[in-house]
C-alpha cells in the first residue's frame, strides 16, 4: 500500500480522535496538571474470549460485591481527596452510550441487566429521568446519562427510553437507579496515576477525571445520586 493510501485510511481515525479530544477537553474545562503520567492499563481478560462480555462483567461484578462485603478491599482516603475507590489500583467498567465510551468504577456498581423494551414514564419528572423500571419486586429509576454528557458542541440526549433502545441497564446506588448503555465493552484494572483527576467538581460533579488509556471520561456514579441532584 502506498503512503498516500495509508494516509487516506488513517484520516477518519485521526479526525475521530481529534473530535473526542475536543469533546473531553470541553467536559474537563480545568484539569489539574499534577497527575498526568504515562499510562499502563492492564486488561482483565477471561480465559475464553468467546464468553459474552455482559456475562463476564456480571461474574466480575458478583466477585467484586462479595469481596466488598467481606471487607477485602477497604477504601482509604487518598492524599489528593480522590474518591475512596481510587486510592489504590481499581477496576473500571468501560461501556458505550451511542458512540461515546465511558468508564465507571466497578466497585460502585450493583449489576448489569438486559434492558427491557419499555419502562414506566413518570409524569412531570426531570428531563434527565427516563422513567422507572421494575426490578426484583421494586422499581429502578432510569437516568438519561447522555443528558449529562452533552456539551454545547455535542448533543447526545436521547430524551426517551425508546429513542435510546439500549442493550443493557447498568445498576448503581444499591440498584435504586441505573442508566442505559448500548454496549458493555470490558473491565480493566487501572492505577490512580493513570487518570487525570479533576480537583474542582463544582460543575459536572459526576466527571471525576479522564482516563489516559483508553481516553474516556471516568464517571463517579455516586454524583448521580438522586438526592444530590434534587
Amino acid at each position: 500500500m502506498r503512503l498516500h493510501e495509508i494516509s487516506k485510511l488513517s484520516r477518519p481515525v485521526l479526525e475521530q480522535e481529534a473530535a473526542l479530544t475536543v469533546y473531553l477537553d470541553a467536559l474537563l474545562q480545568c484539569v489539574p496538571d499534577y497527575d498526568v503520567t504515562d499510562s499502563l492499563v492492564v486488561e482483565e481478560r477471561s480465559a475464553s474470549s468467546s464468553v459474552d462480555p455482559v456475562t463476564r462483567v456480571a461474574d466480575v461484578l458478583d466477585h467484586e460485591m462479595r469481596a466488598s462485603a467481606a471487607g477485602e478491599n477497604p477504601a482509604v482516603q487518598g492524599e489528593r481527596a480522590l474518591p475512596g475507590w481510587a486510592t489504590t489500583s481499581f477496576k473500571i467498567l468501560l461501556f458505550r452510550v451511542n458512540e461515546l465510551t465511558l468508564a465507571v468504577p466497578l466497585s460502585e456498581l450493583n449489576g448489569i441487566v438486559a434492558a427491557p423494551e419499555t419502562i414506566t414514564g413518570l409524569p412531570g419528572g426531570e428531563k434527565w429521568l427516563l422513567g422507572l423500571m421494575p426490578y426484583r419486586g421494586s422499581s429502578v429509576k432510569i437516568i438519561d446519562i447522555a443528558y449529562f454528557m452533552a456539551t454545547e458542541s455535542r448533543h447526545l440526549p436521547m430524551n426517551s427510553f425508546s429513542a435510546y433502545a439500549p442493550k443493557n441497564i447498568v445498576l448503581a446506588g444499591g440498584a435504586s437507579w441505573g442508566f442505559p448503555c448500548h454496549d458493555v465493552l470490558r473491565i480493566i484494572t487501572t492505577e490512580p496515576h493513570q487518570v487525570r483527576w479533576r480537583s474542582d467538581r463544582q460543575r459536572r460533579p459526576w466527571l471525576v477525571g479522564i482516563m489516559n488509556d483508553p481516553v474516556c471520561a471516568l464517571i463517579d456514579v455516586q454524583a448521580f445520586s438522586l438526592d444530590s441532584m434534587a
Partner: protein, 158 residues
C-alpha cells in the same frame, strides 16, 4: 406472633386503576365516586389549560380535568374507552379524563414504595408511590395534591 402483628399492621387499601399514555395509574377508591362514559364536555372560556370543561352530572355541574395535560403528557383524541373518573377532593367533586379504566386492585402498605425522588417538586407532589405488580409498575396518585390549594379553591368557584 410477630408475623401476625406484622400482617395486622400491613393494611390493605383499594385503588381504582386507569391508563394514561400506556402507563397504569391508581387513585384511592375512597375518593372515587363513579366512572362515566364521556358525553358532551362544555368548554369554559378563560379556564386554566388543564380544565377541559364542565359536564352535567344528574343536575350538578362538574368540572373535568384534562389529566394528560396536567401530567405533562401529549393530548389525545377521545376514544370509546375514554372515561371520566369522578372524584371528591376537599368537598370538590371533579372529573378526571383518562384513556381507560382498568380495575380495582388491593395493595398492602408493604407493597407500596414511597414516592420516588425525581428531583422535581411538581411530580413528587402528587405521586404518592409506586407498586410493582407482576413486573408492571403502578403509579399511585395522591389526588389531594393533583392541584395546589389555590387551584382547588379556583375549582370550587367554577
Amino acid at each position: 406472633m410477630r408475623q401476625a402483628e406484622k400482617l395486622e399492621n400491613d393494611a390493605i387499601s383499594q385503588w381504582v386503576t386507569f391508563y394514561l399514555d400506556g402507563e397504569m395509574y391508581g387513585v384511592n377508591v375512597l375518593q372515587v365516586q363513579e366512572v362515566l362514559r364521556v358525553n358532551e364536555i362544555v368548554p369554559v372560556p378563560g379556564s386554566p389549560d388543564y380544565v377541559l370543561g364542565i359536564i352535567n352530572l344528574r343536575g350538578n355541574v362538574v368540572t373535568v380535568i384534562d389529566t394528560r395535560k396536567r401530567f405533562g403528557l401529549r393530548t389525545k383524541e377521545l376514544e370509546d374507552v375514554s372515561r371520566i373518573v369522578i372524584i371528591e377532593v376537599m368537598e370538590n367533586v371533579v372529573g378526571m379524563l383518562v384513556d381507560s379504566v382498568a380495575e380495582v386492585v388491593y395493595l398492602r402498605t408493604s407493597e407500596i414504595e414511597s414516592a420516588p425522588n425525581v428531583g422535581n417538586e411538581e411530580s413528587s407532589r402528587y405521586i404518592q408511590g409506586v407498586s410493582n405488580r407482576d413486573n408492571q409498575l403502578l403509579i399511585l396518585i395522591d389526588i389531594n395534591k393533583l392541584l395546589s390549594d389555590e387551584e382547588w379553591k379556583d375549582m370550587s368557584m367554577m
